[in-house]
C-alpha cells in the first residue's frame, strides 16, 4: 500500500482531517477524500486553471500543490461560496451575466475572480484580464466572464458605499 499521511486542514470553514497518499495533490485529495468535486482536473499540469482554489487567501493551482503541504491551512473552493443557499455575489453575476456555458472552467474562474476582488475590490479591466489570464475557457470567448467580474466589483462598491 502507498504510504499514507495524516492531513488536517480547514475546508470552506470546516475542520477536516483524513489519511491521504503521501505525494497526493491537493486536487486529488479534495475530489476523492473530501468529497469536493468543484475544482476540476483539466490538465493536471498547471496550464489551464480549472483546479484553482484559495489557500490561506492566495490563488493556487491545486493540481500542482501537495496536499501534505497544506497542513493547517485554510482552503476555499467554489463549493463553499454560497451561504445557506444564497449565492455569493460572484456566483450571482456569472449566472445573471450568462458567463458560463459548459461550466467546466467556471469554478476555477470564480476562485481566480475572488482572489482578485478580495485583494483589489475596485479592479480595472486590465486588472481583471491579468487575474483571469491563468484560466482557460474554450466556450465563452472570455468577454462575458470579464464583464461579470467587473459587475461583481461594481455591486460590491455600491453595497459598500
Amino acid at each position: 500500500m502507498a504510504k499514507k499521511v495524516p492531513i488536517q486542514l480547514m475546508l470552506n470553514g470546516e475542520d477536516r482531517a483524513e489519511f491521504v497518499d503521501s505525494g497526493a495533490t491537493l486536487l486529488t485529495v479534495l475530489r476523492e477524500r473530501f468529497d469536493d468535486t468543484s475544482p476540476k482536473g483539466g490538465c493536471h499540469q498547471g496550464t489551464c486553471g480549472a483546479c484553482s482554489v484559495l489557500v490561506d487567501g492566495e490563488l493556487r493551482l491545486s493540481c500542482l500543490t501537495l496536499a501534505e503541504a497544506c497542513e493547517g491551512q485554510s482552503i476555499e473552493t467554489t463549493a463553499g461560496l454560497a451561504k445557506e443557499g444564497v449565492l455569493h455575489p460572484l456566483q450571482r453575476v456569472f449566472l445573471d451575466g450568462f458567463a458560463a456555458q459548459c461550466g467546466f472552467c467556471t469554478p476555477g474562474m470564480i476562485m481566480a475572480a475572488k482572489a482578485l476582488l478580495d485583494h483589489t475590490p475596485n479592479p480595472s479591466r486590465e486588472d481583471v484580464v491579468e487575474a483571469l489570464s491563468g484560466n482557460i475557457c474554450r466556450c465563452t470567448g472570455y468577454e462575458p466572464i470579464i464583464n461579470a467580474v467587473l459587475a461583481a466589483a461594481r455591486a460590491n462598491s455600491h453595497n459598500a458605499a
Binding site: 490538465c43 499540469q45 450568462f98 456555458q101 459548459c102 491579468e130 466556450c139 470567448g141 472570455y142
Partner: protein, 334 residues
Amino acid sequence: MAIRRGRGVAAVNYPTGMNLGGDPSQALVHSTPTGNFMVTLSSVDLGQGLKQIMAQICAETIGVSADQVTIDTADTDTGPHCMGTFASRGTHRIGNAVIQAATEAKQVMLEVAADELEVNASDLETDGAGNIHVKGAPQKSISIFDTALAAHFKRGRSISGRGMFLIPRSFPEVETGAMKPSTCYAHACTVAEVDVDDETGEVTVVSVKNVFEIGRALNPKMVEQQLVGGSWMGISHALYETTEPYYPNRDHRGIDFNQYLMPGPGDLAETEIVVLERPAADGPYGAKGPGEMCANPQIPALANAIFDAVGVRIDHLPITPERVLRALKAQRAA
C-alpha cells in the same frame, strides 16, 4: 516599419444537421400528477445549453412557464434514441422531436380539461400562467395542476407524448453528386479589422463585426453566448492554433496549453454581433443551427484583412507571425 491597418470580409452559409440526413432523435414528454412536465431524452449538452432550450421549447408548445419543465438527459436506459450532439443538429432535430411529444401530451391534457369543464378540447387554450380556459371566456377555467390530478386519479389518462424527428437519408448520385445535404442553412457575413506589424508579422485583431442569420433566436442570451464564443474560436483558428507547428516535421507538437496557443482574455477583439432571423420551414419555431457556423467566417475575413493591410496572401492556416514575416520579406525582395 509600421503598424498597418486593413479590413476584410467573408460571407458564408452552413447546413443544419448531419450531412445527407438520416439522423433521428426522439423525445418523451410526460406530466407529473401535479402538472409539471418531464422531457426525457438521451441527448447531450456540451455547454451550448441544450437542456435549457428544450425546456423552453416544451413550455412554449404546451403553454406553460419554462420553470414547470424539467429535462432528464442522458441515460440510455430511460431516454429514447438520439443520434447525438454534433453537426449543428441539436436544436433542430431534438427541438422538433420535443415539439411533437409536447403536442401529443398537450392534446391529452386539453382533453382531460375538456372533460372536467364539459366543453370540447378544441375550445380550450392555455394562458401561460398555469391554467387552461375556454377561448374568449377566461372565467371558465381549470388549473393545469387540477387537470393533471384529474387525469391521473379520476379520468385514467396519461398526459404524455412521443416525438420522433428524422430527415430521410439522401444518397449522392454517383456521377453527378445530386443529393440533399440539408433542409436548411444558416448564413453569416463577417467584417474583420486588423493591425499588422510589418516588422514582426504580428497580427492584432482590432474588431470583428459578425452578422449571423440563424432562423430564430430561441433564447437570445444563449445565442449571444454561442456567437461570441464562436467568433473568438474563429480568430483563434485563423491566427494561433495548430497541432503541428513545425510541419512537415512532426516533432515538438504541443502537449499542453503553454504550447497550444489560443488568444487569452488580454487578446480579445472588439466584437459586435447582429442577428437576423429567417425562420426555417422545418425548424423548431424556425430555428436553425448556428453552433459551428459562428466560428467560420472570421477565418477568411482575417486573411483578407491581412492582405488589405500589408498586401501579402497567406493561403495556409494558421496565419502565424512567421508566415506573415516570410511573405513580407519575399514581397520586399521582389
